[in-house]
Symmetry: C2
């Protein structure tokens, strides 16, 4: 079943990136869940991820700091909701560590889904938003290009681990 | 270990109700997770709970409608985060069904914790808030009296099931 069907996506509110990549999902999982790896690929250059904290359990903190080319820092505080090793990671910025509600409207909840595909991985990233305006904003920020470029960087990084 | 210690509560942001009640936790769990039971005890009279929907899984909907003595309806949309039968229920209104962020700042995340205590139950309810203002608002709405009175109603209701 396609993830888009299984997750009953709403095209007005949700965004999805699906791609088959030629690296094994165990390494994709490591790239996503190891803080010092995340800083290597997470933000499309010339943006950088300059800090990352991961407490890999439901309710645990997912914290990143993105630095713009101009040197401005943008911290992102999120909370993991589901953690299934090598398969599924779900998190949201509507909650902080320990499931505490954020002091702002959540921008999104994100699903990362990894399925084996030959010697590679079927990679699915889904972002669900509270409103159509939120979905549009994310699309205009460059969801597909941004998450796609980050994925290219992830694949290139993972290949340095394999080598 | 006290729940207040285990959950590392912040007195500025969090509220807790702890009580030992003389009904078994399996029935307390049923009273909390069966929609037609929830409507029997959930809101301190003369308020009523006139509708309830429960999809008992992480990401599932927790929906209630409270009716004021004047006949005004107040719907509450929430999402379950953790479901451990007879032990632990966690939900938040910062998210809607399927973990979608709500289109408003979350009021709270709530933890219901049930431990066996002789033939009864050690009952703990925790509400964590995004800000001190949120905690104060909940306190002034009558957290302790409200949740306490609802618990009295729950115990009385459960005893009708046992009889």
């Amino acid at each position: 079943m396609m993830a888009s069907t299984k997750y009953n996506l709403d095209p007005g509110l949700d965004l999805i990136l699906e791609r088959v990549i030629d690296v094994p999902r165990e390494l994709v999982w490591k790239a996503w869940t190891t803080p010092e790896y995340v800083t290597k690929w997470f933000t499309p250059a010339p943006w950088q991820t300059v800090d990352c904290k991961i407490d890999l359990r439901p309710g645990g903190l997912f914290y990143t700091v993105m630095r713009s080319p101009e040197g401005e820092d943008y911290p992102n505080i999120g909370c993991f909701l589901e953690v299934v090793e090598n398969e599924k990671l779900v998190w949201t910025d509507a909650l902080q560590e320990g499931y505490r509600p954020a002091d702002k409207v959540g921008f999104m909840t994100a699903f990362l889904l990894l399925e084996p595909h030959g010697s590679g991985t079927k990679y699915t990233a889904i972002a669900i938003h509270p409103t159509e305006a939120g979905r549009k904003q994310h699309e205009e920020m460059g969801f597909h290009e941004g998450w796609g470029t980050a994925l290219d960087q992830l694949v290139a990084f993972v290949k340095t681990l394999e080598a």
